[in-house]
């Protein structure tokens, strides 16, 4: 799988590239800011662009803007945004530009080589990946009085969380040591309780779930 990496800190850019090569990815290009990243994407046609959210010149959400631009011009390129902060808002902005092949991870997750490799691969294959810290922020209880989330069982909440992280029914089943059929039943229940339209598609349901959670 072919990737490009964008980070303004050379130490992280190079480290990340090394890590990815180690995991068997073809690192086709490196970029230090948003416009360089767009150039690299044009030139190298990667499967996935891995982008640091905070880059020059503004040092705010440059990476996110670049990601949105790539989304628009090259919808076939997967985007994995890395951030040092947990901002559910940014994840949502990213997802609303299209849930296929997007991911939002905390930067330090890259230290788990296997996890990083699986996330990049998932994004490259058109899946969605949301950092567990972001999801837990979304799932946190905020509504006073009757909160539909309160009506979910603990197991259903676990499934919801994993769904929001972008995992497929099979992955959820593996994680929770249950059968895929059981997971399907939980998912149906969750959608009914939260009054969400049922969605068979793993990718699209991420947005539905995340939007629902964010609106709470």
């Amino acid at each position: 799988m072919r990737v490009v990496v964008a980070d303004d800190a050379v130490i992280l850019r190079e480290g990340l590239a090394r890590l990815l090569r180690e995991a068997g990815f073809d690192v086709a290009g490196l970029a230090a800011d948003g416009s360089e990243l767009l150039d690299q994407v044009e030139r190298n046609h990667p499967d996935v662009a891995i982008v640091d959210i905070r880059m020059p010149p503004t040092h705010t959400d440059e990476g996110l803007q670049a990601a949105k631009a790539i989304r628009q011009r090259h919808p076939e390129v997967g985007i994995l945004v890395l951030s040092q902060h947990v901002h559910a808002r940014y994840a949502l902005e990213l997802l609303s530009a299209g849930t296929e092949g997007v991911g939002y991870l905390l930067k330090e997750r890259v230290s788990d080589l296997a996890g990083l490799a699986s996330s990049v691969r998932q994004v490259g294959e058109g899946g969605s990946v949301l950092d567990p810290a972001v999801v837990s922020q979304l799932v946190s209880r905020r509504r006073l009085g009757s909160d539909p989330l309160e009506q979910l069982t603990d197991r259903e909440r676990d499934v919801l969380t994993l769904m929001a992280e972008g995992r497929s029914n099979k992955a959820i089943a593996d994680r929770l040591f249950v059968t895929e059929h059981t997971v399907e039943k939980h998912v149906k229940n969750i959608f009914a309780t939260l009054r969400l339209p049922p969605s068979a598609d793993d990718h699209r349901r991420v947005l539905a779930v995340v939007t629902y959670l964010n609106a709470q």
Binding site: H85, R89, D112
Partner: protein, 587 residues
């Protein structure tokens, strides 16, 4: 009156008394001449009018001179009086009297024209004024003398005395010059009356009080003079009426000038009223108002000396701009013991009443000093407020810098170590059963350290606040809160950075306090913007009993909130929860 010491004043008084004596003699002489005139012509003023005009000029002139030695109008009036008496000689019985009288016959007119146009400053304000005075002077001297060279009095009056200046009798030339003098004189009078009328209409209120009597009498006198000249030319019936009206009006002009000059004496009653008014406890009206009423200038404003910054401030402590010299406003500094106390910004017309300002300021001295102290206090408060705001701003800048440094330095270094650890882990040979858990553990600790650092940097400077605004930042804050926090937002716009930051930290601190001390089960957070005020409230359902003084968290927030001119109230009745309420003005 300034610039005249006692010796000079005594010398001036002596001179004025001498001139006064001379004036009395001149009057008596003129009276005698008119009473014994050879001819009786209707237009020639009656002896009482002669005396009235002349003595009015000289008397008022001398008194004005004494009251305002630095104003030209006193001497001008005295000279006009003498010129008036000289003109009377025209009716004298012998050639010398006749010739002198005729030569100076109209000179007094220059004095009156100058008086009318230059009042109250004694200086001619515009080029047109100067042209009018110069034209008058030309007509009554050069043209008059030129006509005299060719004029034979016997051409229309057999009993008249001879003209000593006659060099060659040329009746048509003499009458021609006379006609020119009359027509040009009439034109000057018309323009002068117009000019004075415009001035009368345009005068500011305080000006009007001083100038109305003078301008009005001048207008009446000049108009009557003009009418008299015109009536002469067309031989109108009852033409002597105009001359008489002009005579009386001319007599009133100097008196009007004198009255205006002496107004400070007349205004003593007003000053006394001011003293009484200021003496009353808790005077309902402000000092500036009382002063403006006493001085008759509704536009008057007062600035107080703020010594710390060497400038003037208003009663609220805000800086006061002094008007440019020569502008439409004028300023007068009030001093006490050599130190400036206040400045009055007023209509320039009041400068001709400097003595009134002086006595008013003397009367208001203590009150002015008192108000100055209050204004200074307010100015210092304003300054304090500004310095507090600057302090908060500096803190924010510093926080931003620290967050940036942590992000670019420590955080990145730690992440790069995590990357190395990940690499290391992947390189470990399959059988390293002892090293693998150790590396894994190290990586986990590193993750925890990064998570803590993340919390810390967000607490120092919340980037989401700058990047996405208060609603998103508050939403995130509530999601991260240790207690269930319900957020209610009614805010659809970005507010000034400082307000957003203060509101954010307020909610953050209140949420932390609620989690730590309140034993609450839930918190309601509201942020609403309406009528240019952002209202932020954090209310928990805990045990209450919180106070701003306890702990530095809320105390520091109070400073931050108040630096923005906002208010912070904490209500925390025992057993009924704690509510932190803040209102930020965002004009």
């Amino acid at each position: 009156m300034t610039g005249f010491d006692k010796a000079e004043r005594r010398e001036l008084n002596t001179r004025l008394i001498a001139l006064g004596m001379l004036g009395i003699l001149a009057g008596v002489g003129a009276f005698w001449v008119v009473s014994h005139r050879a001819v009786s012509i209707n237009e020639i003023p009656t002896p009482p009018v002669v005396l009235l005009v002349g003595w009015s000029c000289i008397g008022s002139g001398l008194l004005s001179w004494q009251a305002r030695p630095d104003n030209r109008l006193g001497p001008v009036m005295v000279l006009t009086g003498f010129a008036w008496f000289a003109s009377v000689l025209e009716v004298g019985n012998n050639p010398a009297e006749y010739t002198i009288g005729t030569a100076f016959q109209l000179l007094f007119l220059v004095g009156f024209v100058y008086l009318g146009l230059s009042f109250p400053s004694g200086r001619l304000p515009t080029v047109l004024d100067r042209v009018l005075v110069a034209a008058t002077l030309f007509l009554v001297t050069v043209v008059q003398l030129a006509a005299l060279l060719f004029f034979d009095p016997h051409s229309d009056c057999d009993s008249c005395a001879a003209n000593l200046l006659e060099v060659h009798r040329d009746d048509s030339l003499a009458y021609g010059l006379g006609a020119f003098q009359q027509i040009a004189g009439l034109a000057v009078i018309v323009v002068a009356v117009g000019l004075l009328a415009v001035r009368l209409v345009r005068a500011s209120r305080p000006q009007r009080r001083a100038v109305i009597p003078v301008l009005l009498t001048c207008i009446v006198a000049f108009a009557a003079l003009g009418a008299s000249v015109a009536a002469d030319a067309v031989d109108a019936p009852h033409r002597e009426i105009y001359g008489r009206v002009a005579g009386y009006a001319l007599a009133v002009i100097p008196v009007a000038v004198l009255v205006a000059f002496l107004q400070r004496r007349l205004a003593r009653g007003a000053v006394a009223g001011l003293v009484v008014e200021l003496g009353e406890p808790q005077a309902a009206v402000g000092l500036a108002h009382a002063l403006s009423r006493t001085l008759g200038d509704p536009s008057l404003s007062v600035g107080y000396w703020f010594a710390a910054e060497s400038r003037y401030v208003d009663a609220d402590g805000k800086p006061v701009e002094l008007p440019e010299p020569g502008g439409v406003r004028m300023s007068t500094v009030v001093e006490r013991g050599g130190q400036p106390v206040a400045v009055l910004i007023h209509d320039p017309a009041l400068q001709y009443n400097a003595e009134l300002i002086e006595s008013v300021c003397a009367a208001a001295g203590l009150t002015l000093e008192n108000e100055r102290l209050q204004a200074e206090l307010r100015a210092r408060l304003t300054e304090l407020q500004a310095s507090r705001a600057r302090l908060v701003e500096a803190t924010d800048t510093e926080r931003r810098r620290i967050e940036r440094d942590l992000h670019d330095g420590t955080q990145q270094r730690l992440v790069s170590i995590a990357i190395s650890l990940g690499l290391l882990e992947s390189k470990l040979p399959a059988g390293s059963a002892q090293a693998r858990p150790l590396v894994h553990e190290t990586r986990e600790s590193l993750m925890a350290a990064l998570a803590e650092l993340r919390e810390l940097t967000q607490g120092i400077h919340p980037t989401i606040l700058v990047e996405r605004g208060l609603p998103t930042a508050l939403d995130e804050l509530c999601r991260r809160a240790a207690l269930p926090a319900h957020l209610q937002l009614d805010l659809d716009r970005r507010l000034p950075d400082q307000v957003e930051t203060a509101a954010y930290f307020l909610v953050s601190e209140a949420l932390t306090n609620a989690a730590k001390h309140s034993h609450a089960s839930e918190v309601r957070v509201t942020a609403a913007y309406a009528g240019q005020v952002l209202t932020v409230e954090v209310a928990d359902d805990g045990i209450g009993g919180a106070a701003v003084g306890r702990g530095t968290g809320l105390r520091g927030l109070t400073d931050r909130v108040e630096a923005l001119g906002a208010t912070l109230t904490v209500s925390s009745p025992l057993g009924r929860g704690t509510t932190v309420h803040a209102e930020f003005p965002c004009a």
